[in-house]
């Protein structure tokens, strides 16, 4: 029941954060050309979609981790809370990126925020594995598989930061790598 309530609370926070992303989207009430104002909001809509997909990936990863957990201890609850804090923070960098999509600072801020969130989730999994909190459904193959998956998002986003100093656009292209990589890992896992 303990485990269930933690899973439920996590799902709720993730669901709220993913839905709050829309709050940043708006056009001026006094605008006369609505069509032009909407086209103008394209970068914000794109950053909404990107963040929705990334948080969706985090939700599924969190989901996957909790499937193999036998029970929770105080430290796991604390690490999980840190992860939720990172997720709850994401609507802010999303809004900054949507409003300033060509700015180096906003690209770095976004990449660092997503990367940190992914790193905390990867650390959660490492803690579960090494503190002996796994249940008996978790065989070594599954552990390796989840470990590999959990590294993709933080490495791609943190790794894109140096490229942002060459060209912010270049960094944003690198963010779409995780989606492709995760699909490949997924395919290889389902075959084996």
């Amino acid at each position: 029941m303990e485990l269930e309530r933690v899973a439920f609370f996590s799902d709720a926070v993730i669901a709220i954060a993913i839905t709050l992303l829309v709050v940043e989207l708006s056009i001026p009430a006094a605008t006369e050309d609505v069509g032009a104002a909407l086209l103008d909001r394209w970068p914000q809509i794109l950053s909404f979609i990107l963040s929705f997909l990334v948080i969706g990936i985090f939700w599924r990863a969190h989901h996957r981790i909790f499937r193999y957990i036998a029970g929770v201890d105080e430290l796991l609850i604390t690490i999980n809370l840190l992860f939720l804090m990172c997720v709850a923070f994401l609507p802010f960098p999303t809004a900054v990126l949507g409003n300033h999509d060509s700015s180096r600072a906003s690209v770095v801020f976004y990449a660092a925020s997503i990367g940190a969130t992914g790193a905390v989730l990867a650390a959660t999994w490492q803690y579960v594995v090494h503190a002996g909190l796994l249940n008996d459904r978790a065989d070594p193959r599954v552990v390796r598989y989840i470990t590999r998956r959990s590294l993709v998002t933080p490495l791609c986003f943190l790794g894109s930061i140096p490229f942002a100093f060459i060209n912010p656009r270049l960094a944003t292209f690198l963010w779409f790598v995780p989606l492709g990589l995760l699909a490949v890992i997924n395919l290889r896992h389902q075959r084996s």
Copy 2:
């Protein structure tokens, strides 16, 4: 348990999106004639009510689909996430429509957003049927019934877009067709 957590997450996102619609409603803090300011907000209140009803219809349709699902696979979770992204996006076109109710662009944007959401939900059902994810409560009659229902909302809203180019008001009238049509389909189903 897998299925349950996906259903729970979906319910949470839909509940948040449907409740966030109210955030757009406000009157200027400095107004002197509150009564006049409220009457002035009539189009926004109407678009709040319309979106609430439409998202409510989506929730019930989602609900109905999940009643006949035996289990989830990776692709279903992905399609479902796309549906949730569309639902989470709806407060934005609702606010645009409320502020610019006579603009062609906002009417087309609203109809396209609702239509796309309904189309993704209809695709979810088609995937469930053809990937063999149905449980044994789903007889052919139920499958046909849900298929027919799932097409009503996307066809009405996407079909209203050409009419918006003749007259935006005309398109908005067409949106009330789904409510009537769904009631008729419902009645015929309950009789048989």
Copy 3:
């Protein structure tokens, strides 16, 4: 399971609406005297507290109704959705009242919104009773008790509207009657 998912969705919408009330509270970022700005927000904090308590009463009433329901049908889901729409709307009249606490229009708008919400909830209960959806825990005494309770809030708030035309303050005093009345009904019920 059907019944459970409807109860869960209702709880989620009510929880979100009750928590969104705070979004309207703010002081100008540029203010120099924070203490004075906070005192200035007193009417908004009061309307936050009032709406929180009233929605809390609605939640408990909804809760109580669902304890005696054996199952849901299409019409009950529709009426329940109307109730949720009213609840989700309440942050708007709360914000209007907080910003314009001495305006007759905002007092009438608030009283009408709360009164309508309570009336839809009372109608929900009447539907449950007359459509034969009660479970076997619902004896006639319980039915009478819940019927009586469900009328208190709508009658007090709708009944306060004429008084608002004499004096808006007078109407707001009348709103505190339900809290007292509900306590009395409660006490008499627990004794018997």
Copy 4:
């Protein structure tokens, strides 16, 4: 089931309040130097983190209390609703503190809000203990442990208020005491 629905509703309200904290974070859409604007938001990000951790501590405390409850009565539901009202209010003092971090009034307002929330939660526990609502897992040692824990946060925050009149910064340093103290109590409890 009663107990479960109250626990669920509480979790939902806490999850929403903790996630709504982010809504206050924003930078001007028209800013040219995004990096400088983000650095400028440092106090708001810090108050986001502080409030997230404090609400997280409240969630775990609430969680802990409900683990030892056998059932709920009307009064417990009412006290719990008061606690939820306090939690739902917290995004407001958080935003005020973030925007006016050196103001005495905002520091006092924040400390009083957190302190009051903690005091209501401590009162909830006292009510549970003295109204005989404990289940059989609650031995005297657990009761003492939770009582002690529940006093730390309200005493630290309410106790910091006089220091705010000497120096607002001094009070904010005192807020970090609970985190340390709770860790010590925790450690001693796990050893015994």
